[in-house]
Symmetry: C2
Subunit: 343 residues, 2 copies
Amino acid sequence: MKNKQTTLKLIAEKLNISITTASKALKGYSDVSEKTKNAVIMLAKELNYTPNSFAVNLRTRESKTIGLIIPEVVHHFFSNVINGIIDEAENNGYLVIILQSNESLELEKKQVELLINKRVDGIIMSLSNQSNFDSHIKNIIEKGIPLVLFDKISKLVNCSKVIIDDQKAAFEAVEHLISKGCKKIAHIRGPNNPQNAIDRFLGYKKALEKNNIAYDSKLVYTCTDVTFEEGKKFAKEIIEEHSEVDGLFVITDLVAVGVLAYFNEKQIKVPQQIKIIGFSNWFMSQVITPKLSTVDQPSFEMGKQSFKLLFEEMVHFKNNTPFEPKTILLKTSIIERESTQNK
Amino acid sequence: MKNKQTTLKLIAEKLNISITTASKALKGYSDVSEKTKNAVIMLAKELNYTPNSFAVNLRTRESKTIGLIIPEVVHHFFSNVINGIIDEAENNGYLVIILQSNESLELEKKQVELLINKRVDGIIMSLSNQSNFDSHIKNIIEKGIPLVLFDKISKLVNCSKVIIDDQKAAFEAVEHLISKGCKKIAHIRGPNNPQNAIDRFLGYKKALEKNNIAYDSKLVYTCTDVTFEEGKKFAKEIIEEHSEVDGLFVITDLVAVGVLAYFNEKQIKVPQQIKIIGFSNWFMSQVITPKLSTVDQPSFEMGKQSFKLLFEEMVHFKNNTPFEPKTILLKTSIIERESTQNK
DNA sequence: TTGTAGGCGTTATCAG
DNA sequence: CTGATAACGCCTACAA
């Protein structure tokens, strides 16, 4: 059943011209007579000709395909980023191969290898939690493959990046709590390695400092998995160990929702007894009771910008012109909802 | 900065042998002396040789890449399916290009064209709401490109499919409401075209029938966008137009959560005044108050099975052996939570 | 055991 | 204006 695709050769034969001429006609070269040009174009349309992309790839050394590696697809933030990337890529004639690292460094290395072997024109990544300036990342850069990191980056890697100012955003979130009267503020932070968890933690600390609230390391809880369940777990610990806590800044909405779920169960009043602010503006946070205050992170835009940067770099790569990595900083904003309101 | 990739030619030159021999050595042909074989393998490793996939694609007429078109990436169900597909594909040495139709037939046609031109080895799709057995789908089949449809299929298309029994699942959901004592059951259904919306509606109707409850078309509300907002809107209409309704079956959890949000706002008691059951088992439905009863749909598994079917078909395609399309029916189950409990 | 030749389909160069 | 030729990198009959 294998269907023969029409090729230039076929068209050339049918019209009794050379393959070269056929090719030129279709590519709009000026040195083809109107007559043959039209004949070729007509026949090509009739036979439903499309250039064999395998051959084009081989000739041009381009696949018009990029690779995207993210920790997980099933995630409100990441799926929005994917959305932005696919969108922008398609606008520029690129397709996107998506792989997920499942937060495993081992897998991430394998994925990078797959993409390199596939000879994608560029790679966009958000690093797994365990990942840093490791051999696989070095490899991409040494090979000169255009690379853009977003969200979960490593400061050690010298490449283009699209990020938010996590430290500032966290600072603002905590000051928001303080402005609502919170005096004893706990923090559920992300794992130790990823830069954004570190930065959010630093922002938390700085906000306390600036407002003359003593920092207490006992009020900081560290996630390992960053899940709904961990939110519940830490909510329990916080209430049992530090019942006087009246404010809580949580690394991300998913975990914050876990906290809310636990507090709802135990009839602990939010925001009356304790105010909570999350991070990311997950769709769900405006749907849960009480509605969760959070930090809005422009995920779709982050995807778009990531591709744009990559595209720029790919152009330079193709033209063999030097390219200086850039970092784009996107704006965040506090979204006040019920969980931090004064009633 | 363009980095020269090592090629067979380079290896051959360095070892003063022919390209053929180098190729054979690496592919484990028996007719190469141990000595040269080892030398080639050593050098290949040293120079970090990997076959140029563009050339391999051209020769083998395979890209080891498949295309996936879904209505939207940012969706709990679909992102889980993506997850399953990527996973299974990777296990079998395939990469996945993802495109989204945004529920637009126009876009969907374009995406199909892109994938065909890219010469992917196979395509997996979930149709957009407006889509049916249209020219683009016919095109895929006529070209003999392996195709698998999942979830949102069209019965008119003769290809492999992975689905659930929507009618049966809906039937069970509505019977669940009835078993909880509901006498007047409304239904918020999906758009008119997609098969699964039709089937769920039919299941609803059948369950009423079997239980001697009169079907009333006024109690059926039809979504156009299937959003959270539509859930709120219809919740309002239901209460205002038919305050005696005591049960509600909703096409999907996202919409059901919108309903719950409206009822919570208006202090309408769920499940006391009205019981609600959704569809899909979205992560969020176990987090909202009250927790939403729903129909569990094995999304990850659906992804895995879709790729498996596609793979099977691709093998047949390659070997030019006939292939009879198959349909895999996956099991669903009712998940009872607070929104349908008798208190 | 090794190597030559040809082809996958397209494109670029250069000569007619 | 047209076309022959080579090359992209790999693979496989077939010869030597």
